[in-house]
Symmetry: C2
Subunit: 391 residues, 2 copies
């Protein structure tokens, strides 16, 4: 099921709670093209800083990831630790250090336990090929409750190519990516320039359109490696193959981002906020995020409380162009607000709000632009999980 030529290994280096894998290695047997996108947070973790430099070369052979520690706000020592991990892996694999990428996720501000990581590198090497992609997806989890993997197969010039994406993320999730790591592997040959282009487009429609708690992390990273092992000619950006590839990548990132919100810390439901009839796309996005991030809206969703007034209030403070008397709101197909006032259909809408997944549609009726954002409800469990994350 996974793309050809990718090997996996995972070990327990006691970075997270003992007994859980927390160090993972992804190796492409053949040097691969790579593209990436990184957090826009000005406080960037050491591994993010290093990978942002490396990615310029466009070439990669391995990714080493740890969970349980973000290696962020760790100063020059953190940079040295990340560099040491890279050189240990590069040395053992006998590849250039510039072709080894490093990612971390977990608590901010704590030095990496290098004394526990160092001795595990050789074990990681010995295990190469003995772990599955699912093992890796599990090893990168922090507060996630399930591993997140999506695979798509497409036909390229008579050959079958595979794309597999894995990711982690459940809290500190917001536009401009999240406390998330995402690794996408494919055996289709694609040049870095093309990878870059398609990756940016797909991320704007997926990871940049989700929110769990409005926070953005120091470590967000998406990497895509294409090793060309199926032997196709590099995909041309004007070809039908490109469109197929782009669609597969869109599917993968959208599905993974849905999984992240579904697994939102403490969340019990997944809600798509659709805004249409906005003056322009920026307004549509702003409106959707204002509603999707409102604590009052999210607690009402949790409590099965069709409190549409909180949606109106969020629209009102979002700063968008708005005419209260034109605004319509639907829960699923139930019109709960028409022209700015309630329709009294709360009891019908309460059948919708009780579902595990549903859509809230807001029609501003002043323009033609639209946007969608995925969000989840805010529960006591979110508070419990985050009140005691370190302890």
């Amino acid at each position: 099921m996974v793309p050809k030529g990718f090997l996996f290994s995972t070990v327990d280096a006691a970075i997270k709670k003992p007994g859980r894998k927390d160090l993972a290695l992804i190796v492409s047997q053949k040097e691969a093209a790579i593209a990436g996108m990184f957090t826009t947070n000005r406080v960037k973790a050491a591994p993010v800083k290093l990978d942002m430099e490396k990615i310029r070369s466009g070439r990669a052979q391995a990714i080493i990831v740890n969970s349980g520690n973000a290696n962020a706000c760790t100063g020059e020592n953190g940079m040295q630790d990340a560099r040491e991990i890279i050189s240990l892996v590069a040395g053992a694999l006998m590849v250039k250090p510039s072709h080894v990428y490093v990612c971390s996720t977990g608590v901010i501000g704590v030095p990496l336990p290098m004394n526990r990581i160092r001795p595990k590198i050789s074990k990681l090497m010995l295990g190469l090929g003995k772990s599955t992609v699912e093992d890796v997806a599990k090893a990168i989890m922090t507060t996630d409750t399930f591993p997140k993997i999506v695979t798509r197969k497409i036909k390229i010039g008579g050959r079958t190519g595979t794309l597999t994406g894995i990711c982690k993320g459940a809290g500190m999730i917001c536009p401009q990516m999240a406390t998330m790591l995402c690794f996408i592997m494919t055996d289709i040959a694609v040049r870095q320039k093309t990878l870059n282009k398609t990756l940016q487009g797909t991320i704007n429609n997926s990871f940049n359109r989700i929110t769990v708690d409005g926070d953005r992390s120091t470590n967000d990273t998406v990497l895509i490696m294409a090793n060309g092992m199926i032997g196709n000619k590099h995909i041309n950006e004007k070809s039908a193959s490109y469109r197929l590839f782009n669609k597969a990548l869109n599917d993968i990132t959208y599905e993974l981002s849905r999984m992240i919100v579904k697994d939102g810390e403490g969340a019990t439901k997944l809600i798509e906020i659709q805004v249409r009839g906005a003056k322009n796309e920026k307004d549509a996005r702003k409106a959707a995020f204002a509603v999707a991030n409102s604590s009052l809206v999210k607690t009402a969703l949790y409590g099965n409380d069709v409190n549409w007034g909180r949606i109106m209030a969020a629209l009102g403070y979002s700063g968008i162009a708005l005419r209260e008397e034109r605004t319509d709101i639907y829960f699923g197909k139930i019109a709960i607000v028409k022209k700015g006032t309630g329709t009294g259909r709360e009891s019908k809408a309460s059948n919708v709000i009780k579902r595990k997944e549903f859509t809230i549609l807001i029609d501003l009726n002043i323009g033609k632009a639209s946007a969608k954002v995925l969000t989840c409800d805010l529960t006591e469990d979110y508070v419990r999980i985050n009140a005691s994350y370190m302890t």
Copy 2:
């Protein structure tokens, strides 16, 4: 203790839960100067729309307030209801309808129960003078757990003047005011122009510097009435009396805004976020609000978890000018971050974080601007209160 010439009345009109007063009347025996500030939310409640028109005249004699229903998103009917209440009160008091102000707070989108309010107006009139300012402060409460009243006395030209402010608000609290109503009364003679000027300044340093949940309401209103009953000459803006008056008003609004945050829904502690060393004041404010509004910071504060990484992350995504390697963070007097990395003094800082009130100081060390914001922690109770507000 209260300013001369103000009478109060409260009744139970069954708008909130039965048995709790929910309709209150404040009357100045003498026509008073009035100034006000209103929500910046584009979705404004009917009473806010009416009061914003009235306030231009600068004159007032009465304020009628109900809790339990916001009369927001209620369309033309909501406007008619608010106008009817005004005309009933004006008729009974035999004053101009333009001198009667109306305020509402509570659930959005539900028509006012006029059939229950109408018959209570005469009872409200009969009770004038039999209720205290504390009764009014209680009658305007929604999720508040205690009434909020602050009084200051000052000497103006040999006479003693009194200022008393009351307010309500506990959730939907954010910059640009909150789900809050605030009424300030004084028996000192002040012209509307002067009242306006001092009110704007004080609000920017008080109600616009607090946050409970980042939401902004449709009903926020601050009104100040000055009836001049102590017989002083109108305060001159260049006089020492003005400075005294301004200081008293600052004290009152700051104390009331502290009370709001302290009474934040589900909150167990009050935290002042101080930012200094910012490039400019806008950055300082943005940084302070990013930290003060972060769900991850607020849950960590609740859990007594000195998770300063979440503060760094919030600073990083706030969009301000920032040099990670210059940033210092203090919990009380304990330096927990120096030059962007941890000092390891978590155990000392954990004595601070357990307090009911403390300060987090962030020194960006790149400029000279500073700002302060008051916030509270985010608890399971916040979720519980807001998941079942309507039901």
